[in-house]
């Protein structure tokens, strides 16, 4: 009996033939739940990018990319469950697009040897590669965002914002509180007065905060919001007739869905961006040809070119380039997660690479190193034109104030290393 079973099993294996390798990229999406409005374009962009790469280029290094989507509803526990459920598939890198999930995954992914890429969110001090071996947050992070916003105000005010009043309206969570320390340091350096206005989740009711803004009359309001908080804040700002050109959101508070509900009243609102905007890039011709026209689009095709869709097109591109780098370093196409980590740590992004992929000027040129997992830390400013229904980029990509950011990154990462007995790398 035992012999029969063994023969049958062997026969089945032989009949199945060789297993084709693929490159697995899990997508911890949130197409449902309170943040679905942002989650849908994020998930669509990531999926469509790799559908296009498979169809246009035949995969990466000859191997197809398999995106495994797992729904988290932006729930941290579900995010961890998705991680556990997908890591065994040979997941090369996780990009959760959730700060809460990121915090939970940092120790797990590090222990499992799987890299995390959290561009513009997550734990800012993960920029320090000496401490965070498997976490990358290139090309920029929250603290860079706070500094880029202040640099923009400096440029707008002839380099002097001494005595100006700046209010921060923020989601009352770990995410929303991220820029506070940086802004406090910048306030000391530039002499502006900072007031803090937390908004409880989900942010549907913000009357108190905006009445306070009306009373205190700040010169500028910065916003660190997500989900419904953004739409309500922009509407409340319009209600009290706060000048939209003096209202600047972080890059998670500057999507089409954030401004459209307020209609014409949102005209002039500004936000930071970390990547290219609109559909005016050759890559969108490829997406149209290989993804939309063939009926393989992840969504209904109405998100293409929107702010958050573009963000995961960029995230996909950065993962794509890191896979190529890993394949180049290790001389194999079928890379493992540790190889992917090596590729990410040696990543170099040039204008030629972006242009060759149909994305000229889509993001900054940068290099990742063992010490610096955060890239150049740059950002630009965009402004909403309500009548045309488009965002316009109004500044170039500019660097943050490293004299403020770097010491903060060093202090926070070293504290983490001490708490977790982490031996420093890159010596």
């Amino acid at each position: 009996m035992k012999l029969k079973l063994t023969t049958l099993a062997l026969g089945a294996i032989m009949a199945a033939g060789p297993v084709l390798a693929d490159l697995v990229l899990p997508s911890l999406s949130y197409r449902t739940g309170p943040f679905a409005v942002g989650g849908i374009p994020l998930a669509d962009g990531y999926a469509d990018y790799f559908t296009m790469v498979n169809a246009r280029d035949g995969g990466i290094g000859g191997l197809p990319v398999r995106v495994i989507e797992c729904e988290t509803a932006y729930n941290t526990e579900k995010g961890v469950e998705c991680y556990e459920a997908t890591k065994g598939e040979g997941a090369l890198v996780y990009q959760p697009f959730s700060t809460g999930i990121t915090y939970q995954l940092i120790p797990k992914a590090t222990a499992d040897g799987i890299p995390l890429h959290t561009m513009g969110y997550g734990r800012t001090s993960a920029k320090n590669g000496k401490v965070f071996s498997h976490v990358f947050n290139y090309p920029t992070n929250y603290w860079d965002a706070a500094s880029v916003a202040i640099n923009y105000l400096l440029d707008e005010n002839g380099g002097d914002i001494n005595g100006r009043k700046i209010a921060l309206v923020y989601h009352n969570s770990a995410y929303g509180k991220e820029p506070i320390r940086t802004l406090e340091e910048l306030a000391k350096k530039h002499g502006f007065e900072l007031s803090l206005l937390p908004v409880d989740h989900p942010g549907q009711e913000q009357k108190s905060q905006w009445l306070q803004i009306r009373r205190e009359k700040p010169d500028t309001v910065l916003m660190w919001g997500w989900g419904v908080m953004n739409q309500v804040a922009i509407q409340e700002a319009a209600n009290i007739r706060f000048p939209m050109e003096d209202f600047i959101g972080v890059w998670w508070s500057g999507a089409e869905a954030d401004v459209i509900p307020a209609g014409d009243a949102s005209n002039g609102y500004k936000s930071l961006i970390m990547n290219g905007m609109g559909k005016n890039y050759p890559i969108y011709d490829d997406i149209q040809k290989y993804v939309v026209d063939t009926g393989k689009a992840a969504g209904v095709g109405d998100q293409i070119g929107t702010v958050l869709y573009n963000r995961t097109i960029y995230a996909g591109f950065l993962a794509h380039m890191a896979i190529l780098k890993a394949q180049e370093i290790h001389g194999v196409a079928d890379i493992t997660p540790p190889m992917m980590r090596d590729g990410m740590e040696a990543l170099v992004i040039t204008e030629e690479m972006m242009a060759a992929n149909g994305m000229p000027g889509f993001g900054p040129e940068f290099e990742v190193s063992c010490e610096n997992h955060g890239g150049p830390g740059v950002g630009a400013v965009q402004q909403w034109d309500a009548s045309a229904g488009v965002w316009n980029q109004i500044t170039e990509f500019k660097a943050s104030d490293k004299s403020i950011i770097d010491p903060l990154v060093e202090a926070d990462s070293m504290a983490y290393a001490a708490e977790n007995n982490i031996e420093l790398r890159c010596n």
Binding site: R31, T32, G33, P34, A36, V37, I40, N172, L196, L197, P198, V199, D200, P202, G203, Q204, E205, K207, S208, Q209, L211, R214, R215, G227, V228, Q231, V232, Q235, A238, N239, I240, R241, A257, I260, P261, G263, A265, G295, V300
Partner: protein
């Protein structure tokens, strides 16, 4: 008058308006609890479903289009027409009545005489089911809702009150949408009171609320009354969905407005329509004044937890709420 005092008045006025918005949500809970003893966990999701249905009808969106397209390989999303707001509201009311019938036919009818906790659990299931159906039917994207309600601070109120303070005082800020919501809420409460006191169906509803068995014995149809109650609660959910959806756009978070109604219910009582209004006003003013007075020294964002603390304090002294019926258990 000092500016600080005027600001306190402004906060109070806005607290009253916010309270009315909370009460709009709480009313739906009260109606169903009063008539059937069910704490309807799905009330917030009903507001979301109603608002999504309204926008979908107005925009001529094809319901379940994602499902249809995925199944049949078609690309239909819109009918290509736009339905006027009033007609769309009427059609949405029809959908909410149909939903009430389905809830009664497929859920509640099978749970008659079950423990309240079982009925509560059923409404939790209903909430998640409706969430999924809403997404499947109309999509998860944010939608702008415009039924013609005004928005923004009232310039008239600002100009008329600016003289009260110094040159730094701009006059009272009152949102026009909040003013409309207040009028709507008052009309709604009056209509509900008239309906329950002066119509045959309303009196039958109250009879069922008092004693199911006795109501049945005099020929009142329990099924009909429960469909009626869920329909009225659906209508109230639609009103709440319109007001809150106009403020923030129609999206999933609309379902979370139920969280703002819970302290109102604890304070006003689960069985009183005026209690929902008074409870809403107390919570609205209380949380806004507390934030204004102590928010800065406590790091801000006190409103959510303070509303529950305030409700708890009332509960300690009046467990049935301010207007709730006293609970008497006879052995």
């Amino acid at each position: 008058m000092s500016d600080q005092f005027l600001y306190a008045i402004e906060v109070t006025l806005n607290g009253l308006m916010a309270g009315v918005l909370y009460a709009l949500v709480a009313l739906g809970f009260v109606l169903i609890y009063k008539a059937s003893g069910i704490f309807n966990y799905a009330q917030g999701v009903m507001a979301l479903f109603a608002a999504m249905t309204l926008v979908g009808i107005m925009d001529g969106q094809v319901p379940f289009s994602h499902l249809i397209n995925a199944t049949f390989g078609t690309k239909v999303h819109h009918f290509g027409w736009h339905v006027p707001a009033l007609a769309a509201i009427a059609l949405t009311v029809g959908v909410m009545v149909a939903l009430a019938w389905m809830v009664q036919r497929f859920v509640m009818r099978h749970l008659v005489n079950q423990e309240p906790i079982i009925l509560f659990m059923a409404t939790i299931g209903l909430a998640y089911f409706l969430e999924g159906v809403s997404d499947l039917m109309w999509g998860s994207e944010i939608k702008k809702l415009d039924v013609g309600l005004p928005q923004g601070g009232s310039r008239w109120v600002e100009d008329a009150t600016a003289f009260l303070g110094s040159e730094n005082f701009y006059g009272f800020f009152i949102d026009k949408l909040d003013m409309v919501a207040t009028v709507v809420a008052v009309l709604l409460v009056i209509a509900l009171m008239l309906f329950s006191n002066y119509t045959k169906q309303g009196r039958a509803m109250r009879a069922v609320a008092d004693d199911h068995q006795a109501a049945l014995s005099v020929g009142i149809s329990l099924n009909f009354i429960w469909i009626l109650v869920w329909s009225v609660a659906g209508f109230v959910a639609l009103v709440a969905g319109i007001v809150w959806g106009t403020k923030s756009g129609v999206q999933f978070s609309l379902s979370l407005i139920a969280l703002k109604a819970l302290p109102v219910l604890m304070l006003g009582g689960f069985t009183s329509i005026p209690g929902a209004i008074v409870g809403g006003l107390i919570i609205g003013v209380g949380e806004k004044l507390f934030e204004f007075t102590f928010g800065a020294m406590m790091g801000g964002a006190t409103e959510n937890w303070f509303a529950y603390v305030l409700a708890l304090v009332f509960l300690v002294f009046r467990p049935q709420g301010l207007f709730g019926e006293k609970i008497i258990e006879r052995v």
